[in-house]
Each structure stands twice: as structure tokens, then as C-alpha cells.
């Protein structure tokens, strides 16, 4: 009889793609194995997955969040070590970093995709106002001022209501330019830098400057409000993650372009956040481990990478084999990988293991900084204090 593998995922938006492209492609090659993609609302995913894993009723294939969330599952022996899975060799150690133990010995998820931060802009608006794509900080503010003076468009489509927008689209977007990507991030982990250091306060100072360029009532503006403001043509610039591409393509009625976070001064090295976001793992309790491994190997293959990246522009494959993408906006994003230095979000690895949770605090403080309820210095101090309370970097 056919073996059925169930895939647990939070990506319910991808349901159609799985059903129409990914699963048929796999099943065609692997008769006898059936795949059921069973997504959960993202807000419930972690909690429900944990409960099911604990009770032993989770699906065979587990979609992995990056870093600690999955590492925890592996440590609890709920995920199988995939270090030697055929196909794993298709990924560079950097690509696997998000799903590898701290000592680098075991990898437990097959990396699927990463997302890149930057800014998406309304090309029509820029053309109309005669604005060139900003490369530096100064050009960026000049452009914002010009848009604001014109009054047709809201300069920046971002709100602080949902908190994470401010942190992810703001802080993590422009931050790497100041803390110098991996260099700063590793220094922070090693305890050589502190969040109160200028490298880490500076991004907050920049965020604080954004306030005048946001729309009226941005404090209560939600993420989808921002999306809609932009796609309906009412805002000129959208601090973005590459995952927006697919949606914006279908919704925006104007031409769009993208630019990476502007560097502080012309000539500075640019950094981008190229963040591993999604992987797949094998449930240790799966009764069909062999079949599941077959599937995982297939996910590690260039074939899957191609299908996935092209059906979901904005989710960039982590496979070493380059994927040819057809979407211009996606190409634009991925093109930054060369000239700019890639890094992952600063709070994701190790630093959010304790309580208070640095990532969550960063959300709150980023919003506070933009709202003006905390100064950048105060915000940074709060974060560092919170981190100090539990994080003791190895000396």
C-alpha cells in the first residue's frame, strides 16, 4: 500500500503551490509515497507542533523555524539528525547554520529558503517626482523629504502597531550596515560588543528619524495596512522583506523596484540581511523514516529549489546550485547577494534563548523608538540589560 507522509507547516499560504506543483512533482518520481501538506495558522504553529510532538501525534515531516525553535526540538530528540542525509551536500555550512547545533556537528533540517530585506519602491512615484534610487543615507532622507513635500504619497509605508514590522522591516533591515553584518553579530554573541555600543544604537537613531515620514496614525497601523497602503499606490517606499514580492506582484497596479538598505556614506560596504527562514526536518517518531528521507533528499535537490523559488518569488533557495528566477523583483533582491555582504538577523542565534527574549524586546523597543516613547539610548540600554540578565557570553 501507499505510504502517506504528512507535512506539518505554518505556511498555509503555500498550500496551493504544494498541492499543484511540489507534491505532484515528487509523487511522479516516487510512486508509493503520498504527501499530505497540512498547514497550520502561523500563530498557532509552534505551540501546536510542540504539543503534538510531545504526545507523539505529529506528522512525519516537520517544517523548521530557523535557529533555536528547531534546535530545541532536536535537543529533545524529536527531530532526526540529518547530517548525513543524501543531498545535504548541496548546502553550504552558512546555509545550514540556522539548523545546525552550536558546535556545528549535526544538522537536523534541510534548508529550504531564505528571505532578504530591503526597500521596495513605487517606480511610478519615483519617476513622477524625479527621484533617483537612493544609495546612501542622505539620499534616502532627501528622497523622503521630497516625497513628503509633494504630498501625494506617504513617504514610508510602515506602522508600529504590530511591533515586528518596526523591528524586522526597520531595525533588522538597516541595522547590518551599522554593526557590519556578521562581524558585529558575532562580536555581540561573543560578548565583545554590547547593544549600547554606537554600532547598535545607531540603527535606532535612524529609525527614530523615520517617524515624520510615516502615515497619519502609524501607531495603529497594522502590517496589512502598510501592505495595502503601498500596493494601493498611496505610499512611495515600503521597507520590505523579499517574501512580499509574490503578493505585491499580484496586487500592485504600478511598476515596482527595490533597493538595498542605503549605506551611511557613499563608498561604505553594504550589508544585507539574508535570513534563512524555512527548512524541513524528519520527526523522530515517524513510522516511515525511509520514505520521509527520500522526500527530504528530494527537497535538498536542485529540482525542488527550482520549483520552490520560482513559485514563491522572494523565498530564495539556499541550495548551492544557483536557481534561475524569472521574477524581475526577485532577481533584483537576489542580485544584492554579490556586492553586499550577507548576514542573518542579529537576534536569532543564541541571543534569544533566555528570558527576557531579545527578539521580542527588540520588537517592543523598535516600536517605542519610532513612536518616540523611548529614546534610542534608553531602548538600547533596556535591551542590553535584559540580555545581561541571563546571557553570559563565553569568555
Amino acid at each position: 500500500a501507499d505510504v502517506t507522509l504528512t507535512v506539518e507547516s505554518w505556511r498555509n499560504d503555500d498550500l496551493q503551490i504544494w498541492q499543484e506543483k511540489i507534491i505532484p512533482a515528487f509523487e511522479a518520481k516516487n510512486p508509493g509515497i503520498k504527501i499530505v501538506f497540512s498547514p497550520t495558522a502561523p500563530t498557532e504553529y509552534n505551540a501546536s507542533l510542540n504539543a503534538k510532538l510531545d504526545a507523539g501525534s505529529a506528522g512525519d515531516i516537520i517544517t523548521c523555524r530557523p535557529f533555536d525553535a528547531s534546535l530545541e526540538l532536536f535537543n529533545k530528540k524529536q527531530l532526526v539528525d540529518l547530517t548525513s542525509l543524501p543531498g545535504m551536500e548541496n548546502f553550504s555550512p552558512v546555509a545550514k547554520a540556522a539548523w545546525t547545533t552550536d558546535d556545528g556537528k549535526s544538522t537536523f533540517c534541510v534548508p529550504m529558503a531564505s528571505v532578504i530585506h530591503g526597500f521596495i519602491y513605487n517606480k511610478d512615484a519615483f519617476d513622477k517626482l524625479g527621484i533617483a534610487v537612493p544609495k546612501t543615507q542622505d539620499e534616502f532622507y532627501a528622497a523622503l523629504d521630497k516625497i513628503k513635500a509633494d504630498g501625494t504619497y506617504i513617504p514610508l509605508a510602515m506602522g508600529t502597531k504590530d511591533l515586528w514590522e518596526a523591528a524586522t522591516m526597520g531595525y533588522q533591515n538597516i541595522g547590518p550596515n551599522y554593526w557590519k553584518g556578521e562581524e558585529g553579530r558575532e562580536a555581540l554573541i561573543a560578548g565583545k560588543q554590547k547593544l549600547t555600543d554606537p554600532e547598535w544604537v545607531k540603527p535606532f537613531e535612524e529609525l527614530a528619524k523615520w517617524k515624520p515620514y510615516l502615515g497619519d496614525g502609524f501607531e495603529a497601523q497594522t502590517y496589512s495596512d502598510s501592505q495595502n497602503l503601498f500596493t494601493l499606490g498611496r505610499a512611495a517606499i515600503y521597507p520590505a522583506g523579499s517574501w512580499e514580492i509574490a503578493l505585491f506582484n499580484t496586487q500592485a497596479q504600478f511598476k515596482m523596484g527595490a533597493f538595498p538598505p542605503p549605506v551611511p556614506k557613499a563608498g561604505d560596504t553594504g550589508y544585507i540581511s539574508d535570513h534563512p527562514d524555512i527548512g524541513v526536518a524528519l520527526n523522530a517518531k515517524s513510522t516511515h523514516a525511509e520514505e520521509a528521507k527520500k522526500f527530504l533528499s528530494w527537497v535538498a535537490s536542485p529540482e525542488f529549489a527550482d520549483i520552490y523559488a520560482n513559485s514563491l518569488p522572494g523565498f530564495f533557495s539556499l541550495n548551492s546550485t544557483p536557481v534561475k528566477m524569472s521574477d524581475p523583483l526577485a532577481q533584483e533582491f537576489v542580485s544584492w547577494r554579490g556586492p553586499y555582504k550577507s548576514t542573518v538577523r542579529s537576534t536569532y542565534q543564541i541571543l534569544s534563548r533566555g528570558t527576557p527574549n531579545l527578539e521580542n524586546e527588540t520588537w517592543v523597543e523598535s516600536a517605542n523608538v519610532i513612536n518616540g516613547t523611548d529614546t534610542p539610548a534608553v531602548a538600547a540600554e533596556k535591551l542590553q540589560k535584559g540580555l545581561d540578565s541571563w546571557y553570559k557570553p563565553a569568555k
Binding site: 500563530t43 498557532e44 504526545a55 495595502n228 522583506g241 517574501w243
Partner: protein, 279 residues
């Protein structure tokens, strides 16, 4: 002939107040429903407009209904909700009767024990519940959901029903006892019919969280065959992209059956059930 006890001015004021609040209550619902029939752009451009031929769109509904076997989902939701309500009403009312009618040692403590359930969110017990269901082989069955919802609904049912049962005239129950009715007959034939409004209230209160629950269907019965409507429609609540058309359509669709159930139960809210009993 108009009525002596209802002065037109007073009635008018009452209607005014009630209509005012009805507006407050209905307006958001009205917004939901009209917007579920519009295309995405106009949901956001003119949220207050009723659908016009140019903005009218069933895309949300098409998405929803194309996205899974909604007939089965509805059926599952109905089965789970109705069976759970019946069990909650039956078990809850029985226990409430025991607690309110008889004095016995530990009565209040037992009442307190039965109320623990409303003091801690049952979700916290998820892991143990799920383990139990796995052990009993009930995962991905509607029975698992029914069991959980019954347990979840019982405390509130007892809490409310015992209070109402205390208002049933002792003379009436005594008349039953004299008539040779057993305690069971007194419960089923006299007390239950007389607390009908309270039973309806409990039924409605029990039904809402069951129907709208996402968590336990997700944990206990996520399979296609056992999915409930709420779980079925949560597909549309995405991480980064939200398909508002579909959300609105799915939720509008999900209101309808529960509204029907509400109307059915609320017909039991009748006045003067006990009038004429004693003097």
C-alpha cells in the same frame, strides 16, 4: 385595542434604546458581511460601501469553497457542537441538580471542584489530553473533540444551572415526590422543563467556544475527514499575506450555522414557564 400597561411613549423609548444598541452590535457584523462580497481593492478603498456591481465579487467565497471539502467541515462542526452541547446539558444539569437540590457533606467543596474548570484554561492541559487521546486511540476522531468540549463545558453549565435550579419551587418538587416520582423523574420531568431558559442559555454559551475553537481541532483532529469549519477556514489566515476576501467569506459563512443554532436555542427563552404553579 391597544394596551393599558404599555404606554406608547415608554414603548417608544424602549424601542429607541434597543434599536440604538442593535445598531452598535450589528454595524461591525454588517461591515464584515458587505465586505465579504467585495473585491480586495474596494474592501480597503471603501470599507463602508455596500457592494456595487463594479465592486461586487464572490472571489472570497470561491476561494473558500474551492479550498477544501467544506460540506464535510460543516458536518463535522455540527456533529461535534451538537453532541457536545447535548452531553454538557445532560451531564451538567444532572450534576447541577445534585448540587443544588441535596444537602450532603462536601456539597460546596464538590461545587468548587467542579468549578476549577472555569478557572484554568483547558489549553494548558493540552499535552496530557493529547497523550491520553493518543493512548486511547482517539486522535483524529470527532469523539476526542466531543470529550474535550464536554469536559470543558460542564463546569460553566453546572455553575449556571445550579443557580437556576434553586429557583424551582420546592412545593412543586415535593408534589412530584408525593406523586411517587423518583428523584430521576423529578429531575427529568419537572426540573428540566422548568429551567428551559437557563438550559438554552447554557447551550448557547457552550456552543460559542466550541464552534469557534481552533486549537483542539488543530491538535486532536486535524485530518481532512475530521476538520471543523473553523480549522478549515484558518488556512486563510496567513503569516505574511492575508487573504482578507477569503477570511471574510469564511467567517461570514461560519456565522450562519451558529446563528441558526442560536435562534433555535433562544426560542426556549420563554416567559412565565412557572406561572400558575403555586400561590
Amino acid at each position: 385595542m391597544s394596551k393599558a400597561r404599555t404606554s406608547p411613549i415608554r414603548t417608544g423609548l424602549v424601542h429607541l434604546a434597543l434599536s440604538a444598541y442593535t445598531l452598535v452590535a450589528l454595524f461591525p457584523v454588517f461591515l464584515t458581511i458587505i465586505n465579504s462580497f467585495k473585491d480586495r481593492a474596494s474592501i480597503f478603498r471603501e470599507p463602508l460601501m455596500i457592494p456595487t456591481p463594479s465592486t461586487f465579487s464572490l472571489v472570497g467565497y470561491q476561494t473558500v469553497l474551492g479550498q477544501g471539502d467544506f460540506a464535510t467541515y460543516f458536518q463535522n462542526s455540527f456533529i461535534v457542537t451538537i453532541v457536545s452541547i447535548l452531553l454538557v446539558l445532560l451531564f451538567g444539569a444532572m450534576a447541577a441538580f445534585a448540587l443544588s437540590e441535596y444537602r450532603f457533606r462536601g456539597n460546596t467543596l464538590l461545587g468548587l471542584y467542579m468549578a476549577i474548570g472555569i478557572m484554568i484554561p483547558i489549553r494548558l492541559g493540552t499535552v496530557a489530553i493529547l497523550q491520553g487521546m493518543v493512548a486511547a486511540g482517539l486522535v483524529n476522531t470527532l469523539t476526542a473533540l466531543v470529550l474535550v468540549y464536554t469536559a470543558q463545558g460542564i463546569p460553566l453549565a453546572i455553575f449556571i444551572l445550579s443557580e437556576f435550579m434553586r429557583t424551582v419551587s420546592d412545593d412543586l418538587k415535593n408534589a412530584g415526590r408525593i406523586d411517587g416520582l423518583s428523584e430521576y423523574a423529578i429531575f427529568f420531568r419537572l426540573v428540566l422543563p422548568l429551567v428551559r431558559p437557563a438550559m438554552a442559555t447554557v447551550a448557547v454559551f457552550t456552543m460559542i467556544p466550541i464552534w469557534n475553537d481552533l486549537w483542539f481541532p488543530l491538535i486532536l483532529a486535524p485530518s481532512e475527514a475530521t476538520k471543523t469549519v473553523t480549522l478549515g477556514s484558518q488556512i486563510f489566515i496567513g503569516q505574511f499575506v492575508t487573504n482578507w476576501n477569503a477570511v471574510l467569506a469564511a467567517l461570514s459563512l461560519a456565522i450562519l450555522p451558529i446563528l441558526v443554532l442560536y435562534v433555535i436555542f433562544s426560542r426556549q427563552l420563554i416567559r412565565g414557564i412557572t406561572s400558575g404553579a403555586v400561590k
